[in-house]
């Protein structure tokens, strides 16, 4: 078990190195950071000085080596755009993204799992309606869903805020939405927007797995034994659908955090995704590189946690002694 974790952590190091290397080789196509940093009257000579000072004239491998070296020393550099320390900048935006991700995951599970079980067991109008609406939900681009929700609930009905986080409470460095009413209200629309895809996925996965499990012999025997249906479905059948569901949900959580960019930009949600988008616009290389490495780290960690969760849920994995 311990060796498994250590092996995984080493792997993750390589993943992060690879991600940052690929990112770095792409940065020169993003544009010129200097033109974004100075005004139109700044002389070309001064621009060249800045370029030299920032080390942008060095060959790519040198820049990359310097970046990795600094990371190893715990130096994350400074944003080209705001001149703030990158780690501070990202940390200040991290809570917004994580809270939004948690809410959308929660929405997708609380709706997706029961809906999945229901549609697996019952056929009929409600079941079909659920399947069709969610299918429509994932076929429409996130941006459009977001704008639709904003105009319906924000503008036309005026129930919920159209942008931003609302009032937040500062807990140490963590800025939270969870302690104010306006913070909760602000979470609803972006949470749904971001969660629609997960919701559909969870529902369809649970449904398919349930249908699969219900066909197996042990369920038939259990039915024959006269176990009541509630216990049969929830205890015997549903538990066995959980392994693939957890894998997918885990991987999706990484996706939620990494790809909340669109939702964050539609709702002007001040999280990491919005920060990344702004950074692309300003060719803010230090922020982009640290962000990408961080996302790689999050993905790797989530995978690790998912693998560990198998130990808890699936006795077969436990008995193999963690040798996957």
């Amino acid at each position: 078990m311990l060796s498994f974790i250590i092996r995984r952590l080493l792997q993750s190091l390589f993943v992060m190195l690879a991600v940052s290397l690929i990112a770095f080789s792409l940065f020169r196509f993003v544009g010129d950071p200097i033109a974004q940093m100075v005004g139109q009257e700044t002389s070309i000579e001064d621009q060249e000085n800045i370029r030299e000072r920032l080390g942008l004239n060095d060959p790519m491998p040198t820049q990359y080596a310097r970046f990795v070296g600094n990371l190893a020393k715990g130096e994350f550099g400074f944003s080209y755009r705001t001149r703030q320390p990158v780690n501070e900048l990202i940390l200040s935006r991290l809570p917004a993204t994580l809270e939004l991700g948690a809410v959308s995951l929660f929405i997708s599970l609380i709706v997706g799992i029961p809906a999945g079980i229901y549609t697996a067991l019952k056929r009929g109008f409600l079941s079909n309606a659920l399947l069709v609406t969610t299918l429509v939900g994932i076929s429409i681009p996130t941006f459009v869903i977001g704008i639709f929700l904003i105009y319906t609930f924000g503008v036309a009905l005026g129930w919920l805020p159209t942008f931003g986080r609302g009032e937040t409470v500062q807990l140490g460095w963590w800025q939270t939405n969870f302690l104010t009413l306006s913070g909760w209200k602000a979470l609803i629309l972006p949470g749904i927007t971001l969660g629609v895809y997960q919701l559909t996925l969870t529902m369809r996965l649970v449904r398919a797995e349930m249908q699969e499990v219900l066909k197996t012999d042990y369920i038939k025997f259990a039915t024959a034994r006269g176990i009541n249906y509630r216990s049969l479905y929830l205890h015997h059948a549903f538990r066995n659908t959980l392994v693939p569901v957890i894998t997918i949900i885990g991987l999706q959580l990484g996706g939620i955090i990494a790809f909340s960019i669109v939702t964050e930009s539609v709702f002007q949600w001040p999280g990491m995704g919005l920060l990344f988008l702004d950074s692309i616009r300003y060719v803010d290389i230090p922020v982009m590189s640290v962000y990408l490495v961080l996302i790689a780290l999050i993905f790797v960690m989530i995978n690790l946690i998912v693998d560990l969760a198998y130990f808890a849920i699936d006795p077969r994995v436990r008995h193999r002694g963690g040798d996957d």
């Binding site: 196509f29 993003v30 544009g31 010129d32 033109a35 974004q36 940093m37 100075v38 005004g39 139109q40 009257e41 700044t42 002389s43 070309i44 000579e45 001064d46 000085n49 800045i50 000072r53 920032l54 400074f78 755009r81 705001t82 001149r83 703030q84 320390p85 900048l89 200040s92 704008i147 904003i150 105009y151 924000g154 503008v155 005026g158 805020p161 159209t162 942008f163 931003g164 986080r165 930009s265 539609v266 709702f267 002007q268 001040p270 919005l274 920060l275 988008l277 702004d278 616009r281 300003y282 060719v283």
Partner: protein, 526 residues
């Protein structure tokens, strides 16, 4: 203590009374723009979002009024010291937001800070030889050559408190790492920086001790950047914000019809134009012309000019929201050449004839570079213009790209023709001559945005004379001559002056200035 309580009660009663009368009341003004000012340091970034925002917090020796004319600010008067420079007589009743007094030492310090190596506004001070403090409230700016425009050119030179900057180790603008002045401010302006969360929210409050009388009744102003224009519009329509700038042109008719909102339309100082590759010997993107550059022939340039139907562009692409331009500055700028106000007529037949005369009766293809996120509807303008060019045989191959790639591309000379918008920082006709019409010369810092390398010896000769001429009439005559030369040479194709389109709730009164600065002290909530 009892007394203060009573006083407070009295004041709150007073407030309640005025509230019910709706004369003055606690008014929070929430506004949004597309991007966040990068810094709160007035010397670290010479861009409109930063300088525009900080104009509410910091002040210069002089400032621009609603009509963009120079008026006294921290200096109550100024006079020319013959040909040597300028003397500024400073106000004696000014304090910074932290309460410390404003003196000539602060001006000297700010000059040193703003003209330092790390500063992004140092180009403003290239004509300055030295700055001398005469007494506590008098300071001389001595210039290398006579400089009639100097006070105009430093309207955005903002004064920082020397003691504050020193105590907080912000003696120089931040170049790589941030310093205290990046997120904090201590100006003399009408508003103080109450809180700053970069990219999220910035709050300003009126400064009680401001030397001037505040027109505005705002008691708190909250700025939020909203990048997505659809989100910004929704925020305005739902009433969460009071004002937004800019709004997309296609939303203008809808906003005008909507009750409770209004659209503020004005013109910006920015002139949109096409530029040519004057210098290169061979077109870079042509399929059918090799070994020569047709744009070196003035007839071809004029054909391109007359092929563009600017009125149609304004009508269709800009939805009627722009003003045609015949020169590189708008008529609101100092030095605008009345004598050269006429555009060449749109005339595709004449253009075809010119192409024939130049030996390109069958036309030729060339590369047209265009940004797609810099100016209003920039890519659409280029597309529309390309189809107009095609009608006279100028077959433009359009490449549109984000501005972060665009400038490097132009600096690398990767274009045959390109789109450029220019807003003169000094609001004077000399500015585009210096940056767009002078022969590029890195050492003299001339022509740094003259990507095509347009060159006219007479203009190069006139520029230093324009810069030092003290007599307004003589100066205007020289600007007229330069403008005429550029028109004769068809150095650029000036097209139109870009509009300013802002929107707000009905109860907001404000002033639009052509530099696209949003001045809070002119905002009142009805």
């Amino acid at each position: 203590m009892k007394l203060t309580l009573r006083a407070m009660l009295f004041i709150s009663m007073g407030t309640a009374l005025t509230l019910s009368h709706g004369i003055t009341s606690a008014e929070t003004f929430k506004w949004a723009g597309t991007s966040d000012p990068q810094t709160m340091d007035p010397h670290a970034n010479n861009s409109a979002p930063v300088l525009g925002f900080l104009n509410n917090v910091y002040e210069g020796l002089v400032r621009r009024n609603k009509a963009m004319k120079i008026e006294p600010a921290l200096a109550e008067s100024w006079e020319q010291l013959g040909a040597d420079g300028w003397r500024f007589n400073l106000r004696t009743d000014v304090t910074f937001h932290d309460g410390s007094a404003f003196t000539a030492d602060d001006v000297l310090f700010s000059y040193e800070r703003a003209s330092s190596e790390e500063s992004d506004v140092r180009s403003w001070f290239s004509p300055v030889e030295s700055v001398v403090v005469v007494d506590e409230h008098t300071i001389d700016f001595l210039t290398i050559a006579p400089n009639p425009l100097f006070p105009d050119s430093i309207a955005n030179f903002m004064i920082m408190d020397k003691d504050w900057a020193t105590a907080n180790e912000a003696m120089r603008p931040s170049s790589e790492a941030e310093n205290f002045a990046t997120r904090n401010a201590n100006g003399t302006g009408a508003f103080t920086l109450a809180s700053r969360d970069p990219g999220v929210k910035t709050t300003l409050k009126p400064y009680e001790g401001w030397w001037d009388t505040l027109e505005s009744n705002i008691t708190e102003a909250v700025y939020t950047p909203i990048g997505e224009s659809a989100t910004g519009m929704a925020a305005l329509l739902s009433g969460e914000i009071d004002f937004i700038s800019p709004i997309p042109l296609q939303d203008v008719p809808r906003m005008k019809q909507r009750a409770g909102f209004k659209v503020h339309e004005g013109v910006e100082a920015r002139v949109l134009m096409f530029g040519f590759a004057h210098q290169i010997d061979e077109l870079k993107f042509s399929d059918d012309v090799s070994g020569k550059n047709p744009f070196q022939d003035v007839r071809v340039r004029q054909a391109a000019y007359q092929a563009v139907n600017v009125d149609a562009l304004i009508d269709k692409v800009m939805r009627g929201n722009a003003q045609p331009a015949a020169q590189l500055v708008s008529d609101a700028m100092k030095g605008y050449s009345e004598a050269n106000a006429e555009r060449l007529a749109y005339d595709p037949e004449a253009a075809k004839q010119l192409m024939k005369d130049a030996g390109y009766a069958d036309g030729f293809s060339f590369g047209l570079q265009c940004p797609n996120d810099r100016y209003i509807n920039d890519e659409s303008i280029c597309k529309a213009a390309a189809s107009m060019f095609a009608k006279v045989g100028l077959n433009a191959k359009l490449t549109a790209m984000p501005v972060r790639n665009y400038w490097p591309e132009l600096r690398e000379d990767n274009f045959d023709m390109y789109l450029l918008g220019w807003s003169p920082g000094t609001f004077d006709a000399e500015h585009p001559i210096r940056f767009l019409a002078s022969t590029p010369n890195e050492e003299k810092k001339l022509g740094s945005w003259n990507f095509g390398g347009y060159s006219n010896a007479r203009i190069d000769e006139l520029l230093p004379m324009i810069q030092t001429e003290l007599d307004d009439d003589k100066r205007q005559a020289m600007i007229d001559e330069t403008t005429k030369l550029m028109q004769q040479d068809v150095a650029y194709i000036p097209m139109y002056v870009q509009p300013l389109i802002w929107a707000s709730k009905d109860n907001i009164e404000l002033t639009q200035r052509t530099d696209n600065f949003f001045i809070l002290r002119w905002v009142t909530i009805q």
